[in-house]
């Protein structure tokens, strides 16, 4: 059964224990940063930061002040664009949910970075022999029967690890049980073909103003991982068609030319 994380941002207190736990488990170095007016730091995901909590202060004149905290990491898509993009199959989705990466296969072409609709895979730019880095869904921990480092460290259960179908049910139960509290859609349920990271929010990501930061609301439900597959499924037919057309035309045109020159002679 496929595992997932339910990220209920209404319960997130922005403590960033998850961020540090991720660094700790994955042995990622702390970087030298500078002050950030939003308090978010590091300011971007990169090869040393697989996850990060976005802080959004929303103050409408006259309205209540809101402060939203949204954890970001790889979505672990059900039909991952990254995996479908990778020419050597270095990225694959495990049946249990994690979309994992094989250091030894990767050629460093960075097509996965281009393809991921959530802008997740990051490159070790500072290295002379760079590899791709991204959240692993702690596949190594899961293999040992443990939950991901980030979910295990979340004090408020804003991150809930479990079976995807059960978590989806729970998400919809929460939406139903607290009318008006949640934005009535689970981001990741169908987004981009569905993902293992499921978000409950109090407003749409559009409204929170982070749709350009890896939380796009215009992705639609179509599985992004299928775009490539679709094209590739046509390849053999195109090859066959072009091939037979070429051969056919070759002989046809040759024959026509022969006939023509014959006619010339006969004249």
């Amino acid at each position: 059964m496929s595992k997932a994380v339910l990220i209920d941002t209404s319960k997130c207190i922005g403590c960033r224990a998850c961020q540090v736990a991720c660094k700790s488990w994955n042995d990622l170095p702390g970087k030298s940063t500078t002050f950030s007016d939003t308090w978010e730091n590091p300011k971007f995901l990169d090869s040393h930061n697989y996850t990060r909590v976005l802080f959004r202060e929303i103050s409408q004149p006259g309205g209540d002040l809101k402060w939203q905290f949204i954890k970001r990491q790889c979505m672990h898509c059900l039909t991952p664009a990254c995996a479908s993009a990778c020419p050597v199959g270095a990225l694959i989705r495990l049946p249990e949910g994690p979309v994992v990466y094989n250091d030894d296969k990767c050629i460093g072409c960075r097509y996965c970075m281009m393809a991921c609709p959530f802008q997740i895979p990051k490159f070790e730019w500072e290295s002379a022999v760079p590899l791709i880095r991204k959240c692993t869904f702690c596949a190594d921990r899961q293999a040992m029967g443990q939950e991901p480092a980030c979910t295990s460290s979340c004090p408020t259960d804003a991150l809930l690890f479990g079976e995807r179908d059960k978590l989806l049910k729970e998400a919809h139960r929460r939406i139903g049980a607290h009318p008006g509290k949640y934005y009535p859609e689970v981001y990741g349920e169908r987004t981009g073909g569905g993902a293992s990271m499921l978000y409950l929010t109090t407003a749409s990501f559009d409204n929170i103003g982070i749709n350009h930061l890896g939380f796009r609301t215009d992705l639609g439900d179509y599985p992004h991982g299928l775009y490539g597959r679709e094209w590739m499924s046509k390849v053999p037919w195109v090859a066959l068609t072009v091939g037979s057309l070429a051969v056919g035309l070759h002989y046809l045109n040759k024959r026509r030319a022969q006939v023509q020159s014959q006619e010339h002679k006969e004249e």
Binding site: K105, M114, E126, A239, V242, A246, V247, A257
Partner: protein, 383 residues
């Protein structure tokens, strides 16, 4: 292959080689710089030497060396198809230079890619590590195979040069297989290079994010190839003090005009069908207008005129603009379009630019070498 000396019985096809001109010196200097930059790039890594970043993982090398380079090298398969499949034998004189430049185009691609990859020495991985869902996997295989095909072609020329007639005959007998393979492979990867961008519709401007990007890339590659053939024919004639094939070029150019028109129609239909926002005055839109009207419609219009088609200068301009249009399109797709919503910016670093320039320089030098040493402009095997 040998220089003069080892095979003294062979006469040179063209005189004047070995002469050191300032232009050639500049080319050598560029190649030297390129080699140094390449070493630096390999030693210090991509992050330190390029301006690529997590927001712009693909930059100049992909836009130019790969996308544009391959499109401009489209002349090889276009000519092969023209001659062997459509049986338009009169264009034969254009075939061999086209093959050479195609080969060089792909060589550029491979070398450019080598520098672009994070793990260059794993460039062979796609051969044994398969992901049949990946467009890039397909591109990798096609390019690999097609370059081999082109390589064989060049090899045949070499065999001719060495006068290994039996071998040449053998290849001639199976030549159709090579042609068909080349055409299939080209069709596939020329369009697949565009299809790479099918995966990221949300990151691209409406203007270029088309579901029909494959056929569009294919068609524009034909334009790229044909324009380059015209340009090469004229420029090399000037360079080698040869007469350009003005007997066939005008009618070939007519073909180019036709393809441009087809391409223009495709673009417009595509935009209309997708309901893209066509009219606006921001930078991407201006770039788009320039690409479509300036570099597709305009050369098509130029080529409509008999006077243009029959003048070297006219051809040079029309084909030049069309070729530029293809390059510009590749940049637009991969950079202008992609940059839209990001706070980051990208401009290639010196190393990127130098390597790209040195690849062009190297290409010209090899072209020069090959045309001087292989039966390119005059076939020994004239039927």
């Amino acid at each position: 292959m040998t220089q003069s000396g080892t095979t003294p019985e062979l006469k040179r096809w063209y005189p004047g080689e070995g002469k050191v001109t300032p232009f050639r010196l500049a080319l050598y200097a560029l190649v030297m710089l390129g080699l140094i930059s390449g070493a630096i790039r390999l030693f210090f890594g991509l992050g330190a030497t390029t301006n690529l970043n997590d927001a712009y993982p693909w930059g100049l090398w992909i836009s130019f060396d790969v996308l544009a380079g391959v499109a401009l090298a489209g002349g090889g398969f276009t000519m092969a198809a023209t001659i062997y499949i459509f049986n338009l034998k009169k264009f034969e004189p254009l075939l061999r230079p086209a093959k050479i430049s195609a080969f060089l185009g792909y060589l550029m691609f491979v070398i450019g890619l080598f520098f672009d990859l994070g793990q260059p020495w794993r460039i062979w991985h796609p051969m044994i590590m398969w992901n049949p869902n990946s467009v890039l996997f397909e591109v990798a295989w096609c390019v690999m195979l097609y370059t081999t095909v082109l390589g064989i072609d060049i090899f045949i020329m070499a065999l001719e040069r060495w006068q290994k007639h039996d071998w040449v005959k053998f290849f001639r007998d199976i030549y159709l297989v090579l042609v068909v393979a080349g055409v299939i492979l080209s069709t596939l990867h020329q369009s697949s290079l565009g299809a790479l961008y099918l995966l990221l519709p949300e990151k691209m401007s409406d203007l270029w994010a088309s579901r029909a990007i494959g056929p569009l890339f294919f068609t524009s590659a034909v334009i790229g190839g044909m324009s380059m053939i015209i340009l090469e024919s004229i420029i090399s004639a000037w360079a080698y003090k040869r007469k350009p094939e003005m007997d066939i070029l005008p009618s070939f150019a007519k073909g180019l005009g036709l393809v441009l028109l087809v391409y223009f129609a495709m673009k417009v239909t595509d935009l209309y069908a997708r309901g893209a926002t066509v009219w606006s005055l921001d930078a991407p839109h201006l770039a788009f207008y320039f690409e479509l009207f300036g570099c597709v419609a305009f050369p098509a219009l130029l080529l409509y005129f008999h006077e243009v088609r029959n003048s070297q200068k006219g051809l040079l301009w029309a084909a030049g603009i069309a070729a530029f249009g293809v390059v510009f399109n590749r940049f637009n797709v991969s950079l202008t379009s992609y940059g839209g919503y990001r706070t980051f910016s990208y401009f290639p670093s010196l190393v990127e630019i130098i390597i790209t320039l040195s690849l062009i320089a190297g290409g010209i030098l090899i072209f020069d070498f090959l045309t001087k040493n292989l039966p390119v402009y005059k076939s020994e095997l004239a039927e």
